[in-house]
Symmetry: C2
Subunit: 310 residues, 2 copies
């Protein structure tokens, strides 16, 4: 049983109430709490030593990543984060200075995005350091970007470059909050999420939620310098394109928009975010699954994204 | 460095914003999000195998406890919980049925209190099972019960019986949500919290936040049957009164109210909650710290409540 199977079992019959607009299964939960023009967003995420960061990672970067992952999920709904609580589960022996540096990283990122860190908990975790962050935020009523709105004919876009995040980006990435809000404000985005499990896996999340398929243009998928450098390490290294499809933790935005909006969007993007690449990597088609188009033709893509504890 | 020293260091300069009414240091964070007549509450809490439950604890009870601790903090502000997210950090090998039973316990408690479980995360924790729960809730604007409002002359009350929770109650307790809301609605409660670190430790939290002292009447402190039974186990067993003062995880309500309200409150309580003991255990005095009054006189109390990783 992998992570997704287990979650599917656990979420079959969860307690709910009438305030829930979006429950488990999207990037954030969404509530209508009678706030007038706003919906409330709610998200939690954890990083664990040995899984999400190495024992020798810089503590400031560990703190940064712990919050950045959660912020990226708020971005994935085109929301604005407002407050976070932090659970710090510490090994039995730890250096207070190390923990303070974790908070330096957390705080710096929180301040850049206007997020209050309003509390949390410290506890002991015999297995090593674990940081769980919960975030609340807001989104204009009815404007939360879901995974489920992709339509046949849509153009598929992705920001930045993919793959090879493990070489360093996974500890340093800046969540795409401003970019996602700008997209939601200026274009009718049909579906959006943040790429955390790998392009292939996350695109499938959109496809499954929207009951559509996709055709990817191999040559259009933006591949990171890190993935390319890694691919040159020898015959057993992961090919760069496979890394771009399946490596986790890119934290770029993946979204679909009506094809007629594709060119105006690209033009406006270049004006607004000249330093961040935006690539049209394919289109939404009828059917299911991902088809890959390259110079040799079109074939189904079977590679999965990164699946936790498979 | 113990838990409280570390938290004090970490919370000296946290990121904040203008929506924060109560930041770190009380039972929940409180926000004014422009909700009109309501403030938003936000809380996180974690339970860890080997710290908060034994490896052989029933999974339903582990799930119950993970959520109940957080709900108890919402009760400690006299709030109403609305939604939770759950981070489940699992050992590398686990039985899916075990995890499902954790959710049975979580769900049953959530449903009783109208709380939606709206998502969460599963990840791997090499050291063993850890469950982190984050909760949001609401409280009427201006009506959140703080730790800092105790006044000289107040009567000090505690619900239930204290000590010996480890014998079973810590896995089964029902958070005192209805009781706390009833208190806030019907009486001018000056300070309130839930007893999680032991009566002595938590009373000190009220005293320090309110800049007052307390005189406890030894004979009035309600001692649990479990603490008494444990004390009979031999000369090395913890005396029952010490257990009532210092054992953690009672999750009862500890509060102060003007002395003239004490008798009306006791009378109304017996009518409303006939099955739950309410004890007046002493009074708020000028000065600092706890003084204990028994048949031999009055002396300062030096025993600390349970301090994590001291």
């Amino acid at each position: 049983m992998n992570e997704f199977d287990l979650i599917a079992r656990l979420t079959r019959s969860l307690s709910t109430n009438e305030s829930v607009v979006v429950g488990p299964g999207d990037d954030c939960a969404v509530f209508d709490q009678g706030l007038g023009d706003r919906w409330l967003l709610f998200k939690t995420d954890a990083v664990v030593q040995g899984i999400h960061f190495a024992a020798d990672a810089a503590p400031e970067k560990i703190g940064h990543k712990a919050l950045a992952r959660c912020l990226s999920d708020i971005a994935a709904m085109a929301g604005t984060p407002t407050a976070a609580v932090v659970t710090l589960a510490l090994p039995r022996k730890f250096e207070p200075e190390f923990v303070e540096k974790i908070y330096v990283g957390l705080n710096a990122l929180a301040q850049r995005h206007g997020v209050a860190i309003v509390g949390g908990e410290t506890t002991t975790n015999p297995g090593g350091l674990l940081i769980s962050v919960a975030l609340i935020g807001f989104v204009p009523r009815g404007k939360a970007l879901r995974r489920s709105g992709a339509q046949v004919g849509d153009a598929i876009f992705v920001t930045g470059e993919l793959g090879g995040s493990i070489a360093g980006r996974h500890l340093e990435f800046e969540p795409r909050l401003a970019e996602a809000r700008w997209l939601a404000e200026h274009f009718s985005i049909h579906a959006l999420l943040d790429v955390s499990d790998g392009l292939a896996g996350d695109l499938r999340h959109i496809l499954n939620a929207s009951h559509v398929g996709a055709q990817l243009h191999k040559s259009a998928v933006p591949i990171s310098r890190a993935a390319k450098a890694n691919a040159r390490k020898g015959d057993t290294a992961k090919p760069a394109f496979v890394a771009a499809l399946t490596d986790g933790e890119d934290f770029e935005l993946l979204f679909t928009v009506a094809s007629k909006a594709a060119v105006p969007l690209l033009d406006a993007w270049k004006e607004m975010f000249p330093d961040l690449k935006l690539s049209c990597i394919g289109k939404i088609i009828a059917g299911e699954g991902i088809k890959l188009r390259d110079e040799t033709g079109i074939r189904p893509l079977t590679a999965h994204g990164y699946v936790h504890f498979s």
